[in-house]
Structures are given as structure tokens and as C-alpha cells.
């Protein structure tokens, strides 16, 4: 039929466009830059992902919330309530974004989504744990407490936010009762505000109060009434 005509038309149109400079070849530098920018963005987002993971790790142990995991079902429930889910959501989004960028590379699309995603998270968790061992977050926390950290200041300040409504207290042991079934703490969240105070903690059954000493920083989970906390879990920092 007219296959031959179609063939000639397309070729002629394209070659004419090239000859008339309507279609121009992009330079090699354009593509090199494109790859560099994508790789840089992927690296940057991966660093943010790593930072967010290390922040969660730091937040959980610095706030003492990891103790909740050893306080039974109620403790786990409170842990999940207090968990910084916004950071977790940010981590997921950053992971998806990194994967999206990596899929532009051959190794990215040739590998299954879960394998790339899993690999990214394993690497990020390892690096995040290493960062958690460095003084970076403590340094930033100190700056936040001094009001010198405008960008992530509120995130760091929230680590030590009291959660009395959720039945969580942090403080320093002042004294231990002679019967070894209770102790007194000064609630101390480093902000010198109205929620600071002195509480008597009734220890949970089976908890050896004699393990505590005056001056110990403790994490207490329980219900409070008139400055008395009926604890279901006590952890020492």
C-alpha cells in the first residue's frame, strides 16, 4: 500500500528539522549534569533519611521511652502513643523519594522495589545508629534548650516534653522509703516550668527499690494522684 510513502515522509520530516536546526542535539555535559544532580539529590535525601532515623533512636533513648517496652502491654501501648510518628512518616516519604530517584539508574530499576527499599533502610539504620553514638544530637539538643536551634529546635525540645497525661514522669531520686516500697523524685524536665515538682512513687510489685540511690535519674510510668505516682514501671537512666 503506501507504507513506502509513510517511511519516506517521517524520515524526510525529521532530517529536514535537523538540517533547519529546529531539532538540536543536546550536549554530553547536559546529560552528565543531569546524572550528577539526580545522584546528588538521591544522596542528600538519603542523608536526611539517615538523620531522621538517628533522631528517632536518640529521641527514644534520651526521653527514656525505651523503658516503656519493658513495662508490659500498657507500656508498649504508651510507647506507641508517644512515638514520634511524624518522624517515621518523614522517613517513609524520604525512602520512597530516594527509591524513585534511584530507579532512574540501571541498578535501580533492575532490582525489585522491596530489595532497594530494604537495602536503603538497612544502610540508613546502620548509619543512623552510628550517628546516634556521636555527640551530634546531644550538641543539637543543648542548642535547642538554649533556644539557638531555629530549624529543628521544636523537634529536639519535644524529646523532654513531660507527658503526665499519658502517665509518664522523669525525675531524680531524692530519697527512698525505709520499707523499700516507695521513693521520692523531683520531677525534672530541664525547663523549670509549672510541671516541675516533687512526687512520691509507689513502686510496682516486684521492683527492687533498693537498687536505686539518691541522685539516680529515673523514668516512671504510672497513674498519678495528688503528687503520688502509682507506678507500673520504673527504669533507671
Amino acid at each position: 500500500m503506501n507504507t513506502h510513502m509513510e517511511h519516506k515522509d517521517i524520515k524526510q520530516v525529521v532530517i529536514n528539522k535537523i538540517k533547519n536546526k529546529e531539532v538540536v542535539m543536546r550536549s554530553r555535559a547536559y546529560f552528565v549534569w543531569q546524572v550528577v544532580v539526580i545522584a546528588f539529590l538521591a544522596g542528600l535525601i538519603f542523608l536526611l533519611l539517615t538523620y531522621a532515623i538517628s533522631f528517632i533512636l536518640f529521641s527514644v533513648h534520651e526521653s527514656g521511652e525505651q523503658f516503656l517496652l519493658g513495662f508490659g502491654f500498657q507500656g508498649v501501648y504508651t510507647f506507641l502513643t508517644l512515638f514520634p510518628w511524624w518522624a517515621f512518616l518523614a522517613i517513609l516519604l524520604l525512602g520512597i523519594l530516594t527509591e524513585y530517584l534511584l530507579r532512574r539508574f540501571r541498578f535501580g530499576y533492575r532490582t525489585s522495589l522491596l530489595r532497594v527499599f530494604g537495602g536503603l533502610f538497612v544502610m540508613a539504620i546502620i548509619l543512623g545508629t552510628i550517628i546516634d553514638f556521636t555527640p551530634l544530637h546531644n550538641f543539637l539538643l543543648d542548642k535547642a534548650n538554649r533556644g539557638e536551634l531555629p530549624l529543628f529546635g521544636s523537634a529536639y525540645e519535644s524529646i523532654r516534653t513531660p507527658h503526665r497525661d499519658e502517665g509518664v514522669f522523669r525525675g531524680v531520686v531524692d530519697s527512698i522509703s525505709a520499707r523499700a516500697d516507695s521513693f521520692v523524685i523531683s520531677h525534672d524536665d530541664f525547663d523549670n516550668d509549672a510541671d516541675d515538682g516533687i512526687f512520691m512513687v509507689i513502686a510496682p510489685s516486684g521492683f527492687d527499690v533498693t537498687l536505686l540511690s539518691s541522685g539516680d535519674r529515673v523514668y516512671v510510668a504510672g497513674t498519678s494522684s495528688n503528687d503520688v505516682i502509682y507506678a507500673y514501671g520504673v527504669g533507671r537512666f
Binding site: 507504507t3 509513510e6 517511511h7 515522509d9 517521517i10 524520515k11 520530516v13 525529521v14 532530517i15 528539522k17 535537523i18 538540517k19 531539532v23 538540536v24 542535539m25 543536546r26 550536549s27 554530553r28 547536559y30 546529560f31 530507579r103 540501571r106 530499576y109 533492575r110 532490582t111 525489585s112 522495589l113 522491596l114 530489595r115
Partner: protein, 190 residues
């Protein structure tokens, strides 16, 4: 006028194109025009649209030729451009374009190319062509690339940007859907 040796490979021609050799590009158009028109016909029915899109594929190929690594095969590269052009066209034509996650991309699949390779004959091609329109685009495309464009699994993976194992899974599923369709309609089987 300088002529280009027609026995040069696609990859060698692409190197000449990078040096502004228009004749070399014309030769590449000769080699791929009918293939890309055939590829487009598996997705779109309007002949004018398909020709416009194939022309667009060659324009994009010329603009981006310096991104092509001639140590690799040229055909997956130009089919990848064609895939993007056709997918965008289908998306534009669709009244309700949706984004869906392909679950086959989530996990790894083992690659088994051997059992299916023996069936790349004219009879199979005719059979598949008869039922191709009944398949979803993802299955239709993988069958087209494998049986009609004669690309291997690796090349198809590069065209569709999916893992090689997923190519095999899609091919197998496409053939199953096709078999069910023929079983239900004509009593034929593959």
C-alpha cells in the same frame, strides 16, 4: 555527498550521529521506522497519531543521542524512548488516568528464558496477534517486545525499566490470560 557504510551496526551509526552525521541518522530511521510503527500499532489505532509519535520518537532520539552509551545495545534505548512517547499518548487519551502499583515489581522473581524461546515462530506470533487487543497494556507490551520486536529479556527490562525476572512473570501471565481468552472464545489453546 559522503555515504555511510550500511553494514555498520546501530551502535556504530549512533557514534557517527553524535559527530553530526545526518546520513547515519537517516540510516537508523530506515532501520527502525517500520519496527516502531508496528510497535505503536499494538497500542494505538489512529495511523496519523502513530506516525506523529514515531516522528517524535526520532526527534527525541536525535536530541538525546549523546546520552546513549554505545557500549550497550541501541534497540532497547530507542524502544525505551518509544515506550515513553506511547505511554504519555495513552495517558493523555485516557479520560481517567490512574497510577497503579505493579505488585510484580515489589519482589524478585527468578529468570527462566529457556522454555519460551523455542516458541518464537510465525504460528505463535499470528496466534498472539489475534488476541493481543484483549490484554491490558502492560501484558500487551511485553508480548509485543518479545514476539514481534524480538527483544530478549534483558533488553525488555531496559525498555520497561523493570527487573529481568518481572519480564518473565509478565510474559507468563500474559500468555495465561491469552490462553484463557481463546479457551473461552474459540476453544483454542497455546
Amino acid at each position: 555527498m559522503k555515504t555511510v557504510n550500511p553494514s555498520l551496526s546501530d551502535e556504530e551509526l549512533s557514534e557517527l550521529v553524535k559527530k553530526n552525521d545526518e546520513q547515519a541518522f537517516a540510516l537508523l530511521i530506515d532501520r527502525y521506522e517500520s519496527r516502531l510503527l508496528r510497535y505503536g500499532r499494538k497500542f494505538l489505532s489512529d495511523r496519523g497519531d502513530i506516525e506523529d509519535m514515531v516522528q517524535n520518537v526520532f526527534v527525541k532520539a536525535y536530541q538525546n543521542i549523546k546520552s546513549f552509551d554505545s557500549a550497550r545495545k541501541f534497540s532497547p534505548w530507542i524502544y525505551r524512548i518509544a515506550h515513553n512517547v506511547f505511554v504519555n499518548a495513552l495517558r493523555d487519551k485516557s479520560k481517567n488516568p490512574t497510577v497503579s502499583l505493579d505488585l510484580d515489581l515489589l519482589v524478585s522473581h527468578p529468570v527462566d528464558e529457556t522454555y519460551i524461546e523455542a516458541e518464537k515462530n510465525e504460528e505463535t506470533r499470528t496466534y498472539i496477534d489475534r488476541g493481543l487487543r484483549q490484554l491490558p497494556p502492560a501484558y500487551r507490551e511485553v508480548l509485543t517486545l518479545f514476539y514481534f520486536e524480538e527483544l530478549d529479556y534483558q533488553a525488555i527490562a531496559d525498555v520497561l525499566h523493570i527487573p529481568v525476572g518481572t519480564v518473565g512473570v509478565r510474559l507468563r501471565r500474559a500468555r495465561e490470560v491469552l490462553r484463557k481468552y481463546f479457551d473461552a472464545n474459540r476453544g483454542n489453546s497455546l
